[in-house]
Each structure stands twice: as structure tokens, then as C-alpha cells.
Symmetry: C2
DNA sequence: CTATGTCAAGAGCATTGCTCTCGTTTGTGG
DNA sequence: CCACAAACGAGAGCAATGCTCTTGACATAG
């Protein structure tokens, strides 16, 4: 019942796609703050008020783009993971991290849209929450395989996860994470946080005059954090 | 020659201060994207064109606010560090991390201004680079004291810093860091990156439905990263 | 005292997001 | 088959915005 209803519905779906495509093009050029509904309408040869039939406000258009962006980076991570041999856990981890960074460098404005300042005053709506977790699921999948292979060896010498994290850990374990300890789950979140922190720092210019070879430094950090989570390093010290 | 020149200059400096103050108030309310030069002018009882005598463009006002914000968080970190006993290295580290997070939670819009999307298309100008490093200097100071006390013990089992980082490390060692290994410097940068990544994730809503007790999780992460850098943990495992 | 440069004020331009009202087109139920 | 309602594109219009330009008042320097 969803495919090809009336001609009107098909036209509508098509137009929504075109509007989003034009908006993405413009987003890539001028950034989120400069995205103009009127300009999008102009590019499509329609009048501005017509666009409002499809997106009730500029923020709704932005939200659609946010969801697409989350989905896009999620897909990139999934592809990167799938391209690795399943048993090369650290290779998969690095590939995923690299995929995030590469995607961000290739789509800086879209990255800024999803990990920079939430636009004007608004809070990211609920519907962005699911696509936002695609990358996390992939990362958790690597941990799952590591656990299944019995090679998950989180280093000692670190403090235990706070007791207040137990409930979160239980829920996450049920949803995405393998049956590993609270410590590992929290460390995985810490590593996930770092990846995006590093990408944001690089993209927003915080590494200027600090780190030159950012790709190598990123790789190094990703490796260190993977070790902290418990993934086995390749071979060398 | 800088203090109290002509009445005109004094009036000018005073007005610049007032404009910035009004802009900060407005920034705290409506965020960077909603900051309006005209509204600032209204609040001050002047006409919009008059403000342009003091800030040639809206972005220049924003830049001034960015510098102030960097300075503000830098000062907060310095205060937090100074309030700790010098020999309590891990306590100082945690206090600094906490200061960053607390400042960000108290000034979300200003934090978003300096660590979120750089406004429209523009790249943060050079003059923001010095104030942006105040917090880093404090963190590096802790490492310096740890090194001097001979308690800096970076854990083994992690990969060495990439060779391409050597030049950066040398420069940083000269500028802010104590004479420690490239590995420690890079790990410190990784930890520094994480702190802001975690604050950004928390502030921008990425921990929704993921981490509940964010303060405790942040503390835990800061501790783990401190350990990775080489700071000695209090006592327990 | 005069001349120069600074200043606030106002009008004005182009642009934006968004609303409202028109006819027109399209799909559907009688 | 046809009439009615919903969806639609177009256009005008409103309240804002950033920014420019001109005008006239003022203070300061010579």
C-alpha cells in the first residue's frame, strides 16, 4: 500500500526528495546557518510558499537533513565494518573510526549540523534518536564479536564504573551491547565519545598549530581507546 | 598611555564594554544564531547603525564574544586548579575537568559558540588562538608538576606516538608541556580532546537515553584518561 | 575660533521566515 | 459521470534581519 499510490502522492514524495536534495546541496555550500528555504525554492523553480506545503518550517527541513546525515554516516560505518574480515577486530574498529572521520571531512557542514551547535534554540527532536545510534550499534557489534571470540581483555588499573551507571548498563546490554561488564560498556561509550570529540576538534580548528598529521594522531588515539575498551592490539608493544 | 586618554576614547571603551555585555546577555538567552545586532542596539537605547561604529559586522561581535568565552572558561579552569593542594595531582586534574564541564553547563550557549558549529561560513580568526589554549596550559602544568615529582607513570601496552608527531611534540614541549615523551604529550592531547568531546555530547543531547548520571560518568572518564596519560590514581584498583 | 574627524540617527536596500488569500488541479464518493 | 473537498502553486504581504549611506550635531586638536 505504500508503493505508488495516487499520482499525487508519488509526485509529493518525489518533490520532497528533490527539496531535500537541493537543501543538501545548499547545506554543503553555505552551511546550516545559511540554508535558506527561499533559495531552495528558487533552485527548484518554485515559489517559497510552495515549499511550506512539504516542510512546515525551516527547522523541519533541517531536522530531515539531520536524520539523513545520521543515516549517511551510519551507513558509511556499516560499510567500513563490513569490508573487513570478521576476525580482524582491531582492523574493524579502526575502519569504523576512520569512516566517521572521513565522512566528516568530506561533509563538514553536515557533520557540523549533527554534532555542532543545535540550530537556534531548538532541541533535537525524538525522531533523530534512532538514526543517531547506527554507528554505535556497529561499534558495539565489534565488542560483541570480541566477547564471543573470548579475546576481550580490558586492562586493569582503571577505576570501576560508578554504581549509578548500572541501570544504564543493563539497558544498553539488552539493546545493543554484548553481555560484558559495566566497565567495558562505559569504556566503550568513552571511546565513542572520544572519536567524535577528536573529529569535532579537527573540523572546528582546535588542532591548529597543535597537531599537524591529524590522520596519524587520530589513528593513534583510536588505537589507544580501543585498547582501553579491551580490544587486543595487533602485535607490537 | 593606555589608561584614560581623551574623554572620547574612554567613552568608546565603555560603550564597547556595554555592547559586549548586552550581547552576552542576549547570547545566553537566544543563542548565537539568534543574536541580533539590532536587538543589542535596542537594549542599549541606540540605533542599529551606531553599533556598527564599534563592531564592523555581526561576526566581529561574535568573535569578541568567542574570545571572552575562551577567556572565561580558561579563568575558571585556572581557579579550579589553584584551589587544590599542589601535590594532589589527580585532584587538580579532576577539578579542572569538572570546571570545564560546570562552566559549559552554566553557559551552554557560550560553550556552543566556541565548541559548536563555527557560525555561517567563517573560520575562527587567528586572535582566538591564544585564549583558546589557556585551559590546555593549566592541564599541561599538572603534567609538569607530576613529572617534576617523578610520579608520572604512563602505562605500557599502548602503541607509540606516530613519527609524524615528533615535530609537533617538540614545539609543544617548548611552549607548554614539560619535558616528557612524545607519547605522554599525545596522550594528554587525547585526554584533552575527550574532555571536550564528553561535554559536547552531554550538552548536545547525545547521551539522551544512554547515560543518566552524567556527572559520575564524566568523572569516571576523566579518571580513566588521566590514568592513560600517566597520572597516578588515588589508591584503589 | 575654526576645521577635522567622530558620533548617533534615520532612511533605505536586499534578504529572510512565515502567513494568508487566491484560482487551479487532482482525487474521490455519490 | 460529476460535483465536492482536499491538496496545490503562485503571489502579495508582514515583521524582522544585516548592512550601507547620508545628514546633522558635537567635541577635540591646531
Amino acid at each position: 500500500m505504500s508503493a505508488s499510490r495516487t499520482a499525487r502522492e508519488r509526485a509529493r514524495a518525489e518533490l520532497i526528495r528533490e527539496i531535500k536534495a537541493a537543501a543538501r546541496r545548499q547545506l554543503a555550500e553555505v552551511g546550516a546557518a545559511g540554508l535558506s528555504l527561499r533559495a531552495v525554492a528558487r533552485e527548484l523553480g518554485m515559489v517559497s510558499s510552495a515549499v511550506y506545503r512539504y516542510f512546515p518550517s525551516r527547522d523541519d527541513l533541517l531536522t530531515a537533513l539531520i536524520i539523513e546525515a545520521f543515516d549517511d554516516v551510519g551507513a558509511a560505518v556499516e560499510r567500513a565494518d563490513a569490508a573487513c574480515p570478521r576476525e580482524d577486530l582491531i582492523g574493524r574498529w579502526l575502519a569504523c573510526c576512520r569512516a566517521i572521520r572521513d565522512w566528516a571531512l568530506a561533509h563538514p557542514h553536515e557533520y557540523a549540523l549533527i554534532h555542532g551547535t543545535p540550530v537556534p534554540g531548538y532541541a533535537a527532536p525524538e525522531e533523530t534518536v534512532v538514526p543517531a545510534s547506527r554507528d554505535g550499534r556497529v561499534l558495539a557489534g565489534i565488542l560483541r564479536d570480541a566477547e564471543a571470540a573470548g579475546v576481550l581483555a580490558p586492562p586493569a588499573g582503571l577505576p570501576p564504573a560508578p554504581a549509578s551507571f548500572a541501570e544504564d548498563a543493563a539497558r544498553l546490554r539488552e539493546q545493543v551491547f554484548p553481555p560484558v561488564s559495566d566497565d567495558v560498556i562505559l569504556r566503550a561509550l568513552i571511546a565513542w565519545t572520544w572519536v567524535y570529540g577528536a573529529v569535532s576538534f579537527e573540523l572546528f580548528g582546535m588542532y591548529r598549530n597543535v597537531i599537524t598529521d591529524r590522520a596519524a594522531a587520530f589513528e593513534h588515539g583510536a588505537l589507544c581507546l580501543a585498547r582501553m575498551v579491551g580490544l587486543p592490539l595487533p602485535d607490537d608493544a
